[in-house]
């Protein structure tokens, strides 16, 4: 019914969505914060890479390497100066603040870069492709999926194999008792948001090289990311990867039937999966 090619393209697109979603998943997992500005922060990252490239003339891949620590710093500041002040029992204030942040970022980008659509030019690698058997795959999509897998793997190692990851999990379980261990939750949260924005910078690189972007596209990326996180099961990083792949597959399959159905098919897959598994594919045992 669907060609092997369609399925492979869907898988590869899923990598991009998983990258959109990984930072969202990380932050939600640690501090139960839904960052409504996550999509806009990815777009901001794309403009940062664009700006660095324009000023210095360097390749987007190199610019992204420089953008990553900058985005970490931005995440740290954002958390310590703004989000830590509104986190608490009530989940509404942080939601409203990140919603406001989303609007501020969009308008800031609009003022700085106009509404013109831009693209990151990565050079010849963009049109390069590899053939495995009968399937031709673009090098960039393959790189995107490989990066997504590497990012999820890296975050899992961080989470389950390091002292920092232990502190992340302890704080997420019980922030008050974590303080009795000498852990400072607000610093843990700042670290988490910093790391989430490093991942956002990586997502921005692949977003910007794959297609045009402009200041207004953040919320739609947030929606895909959100669906990927929910499909995967809240707080599960591998689930987030699976969720991204589900949305990517559904979109390419939908588009193969009728190009107008691409976006709709992703949302339908989201609803169907939640009807069968309300807590997602890989729910965390405790919550």
């Amino acid at each position: 019914m669907f060609s092997l090619d369609t399925i492979v393209q869907g898988l590869l697109l899923g990598g991009l969505y998983a990258l959109f979603a990984a930072g969202l998943s990380l932050v939600f997992g640690i501090m139960r914060l839904v960052n409504l500005a996550h999509g806009d922060l990815i777009v901001l990252g794309a403009y940062l890479i664009l700006g660095l490239g324009t000023v210095t003339g360097m390749n987007p891949f190199v610019a992204a390497l420089i953008a990553m620590p900058l985005m970490f710093g931005l995440g740290w500041l954002l958390q310590t100066r703004l989000l830590n002040r509104v986190l608490g029992e009530d989940i509404l204030p942080p939601l409203l603040v990140t919603f406001g942040l989303s609007v501020v970022i969009q308008n800031g980008l609009l003022a700085a870069f106009t509404a013109d659509s831009r693209k990151l030019a990565a050079g010849p690698v963009e049109s390069a492709s590899v053939a495995i058997g009968p399937v031709h795959m673009g090098v960039m999509p393959v790189l995107t999926l490989a990066t997504a897998v590497a990012v999820i793997l890296g975050l899992n190692l961080l989470f389950y194999r390091t002292a920092l990851g232990r502190a992340f999990r302890a704080t997420s379980d019980d922030a008050v008792t974590a303080q009795l261990m000498g852990i400072r939750p607000q610093r843990i949260f700042a670290m988490a948001t910093g790391i989430a924005l490093v991942v956002a910078a990586i997502a921005a690189l692949y977003l910007g090289t794959r297609a045009n972007f402009d200041p207004s596209i953040g919320p739609a990326r947030l929606l895909y990311a959100f669906e990927a996180v929910i499909i995967g099961g809240l707080g599960s990083l591998w689930g987030t990867l699976a969720g991204g792949v589900v949305i990517g597959l559904a979109q390419t399959m939908g588009a193969a039937v009728n190009p107008e159905w691409q976006i709709l098919a992703g949302h339908v897959a989201f609803v169907l999966i939640l009807m069968v598994r309300p807590r997602g594919l890989f729910p965390r045992a405790i919550d």
């Binding site: 002292a163 232990r166 502190a167 302890a170 379980d173 974590a178 303080q179 009795l180 261990m181 400072r184």
Partner: protein
């Protein structure tokens, strides 16, 4: 007498409008065990939470080795050398037994008697169950993890809030059997207990609390059953 390692004076604490502590004075001498007994709601846990910086102090002072630490944030109190075994144990559910122990030394990493090896020697059953989630253990074993976790920071002062809560007498004895080694490691200890005879057995000095006040204090040998009963439930005569 030398300077107490921990001293609490005139401590007052509130939950909103409700006053939970009314000028509490407690002193802990270096190397001693002090027990605080009292009925449900007497304010024992609130006193611990105020010392460790989790509950806000409205008035009064907490001193560690003469240094004023009143109002210091909880992580800094741990760093100064006061560790707590909280009421209800409060293990981290996403962490294994071993990770729960390791997190105790996450911030305060100092060489001392206590490390994974010596905690496993103190509670050998934990070594067998090191890879299980902490919350999969029996109540007594969870309490051992909670004690081990606090010891991992090599505290100068160890606060234990109701170690015997919900445990069978034989398990309670097993837990308290660890005390001699904990004392020998140089930690001074405050225990909160509802089990009065256990408190009298383990402590050098006992305070009885009722309705946010210390109603009776003394060495176990000096306290009569009747006096404790009155201090615990209020004088009936």
């Amino acid at each position: 007498m030398s300077e107490p390692i921990l001293s609490v004076s005139g401590l007052t604490a509130h939950y909103g409008d409700f006053q939970a502590l009314f000028g509490v004075d407690v002193a802990l001498e270096q190397g001693e065990v002090v027990a605080i007994i009292g009925a449900n709601g007497a304010g024992k846990t609130t006193l611990m939470r105020a010392i460790t910086g989790i509950a806000r102090v409205s008035a009064g002072r907490v001193r560690l080795d003469g240094r004023d630490i009143t109002g210091t944030p909880a992580p800094d109190i741990l760093m100064a050398g006061i560790a707590m075994v909280p009421e209800g144990r409060r293990l981290f559910p996403s962490l294994s037994v071993e990770e729960n122990l390791l997190i105790g030394a996450h911030a305060r990493r100092i060489q001392g008697h206590w490390n994974l090896e010596s905690v496993y020697r103190l509670f050998p059953v934990l070594r067998e169950r090191r890879d299980h989630p902490g919350t999969a253990l029996s109540g007594g074993q969870q309490q051992m993890v909670a004690i081990g976790r606090a010891l991992m920071s090599n505290p100068r002062v160890l606060l234990c809030d109701e170690l015997s809560l919900g445990l069978a007498p034989v398990v309670i004895r097993e837990i308290y059997a660890a005390f001699p080694e904990i004392r020998a490691s140089g930690a001074s200890i405050v225990v909160i207990e509802q089990d009065v005879s256990q408190a009298l057995k383990v402590a050098d000095y006992v305070h009885c609390m009722m309705e946010g006040r210390i109603t009776l204090s003394g060495r176990p040998a000096e306290l009569s059953r009747d006096a404790i009963h009155d201090a615990y439930f209020g004088a009936t005569h």
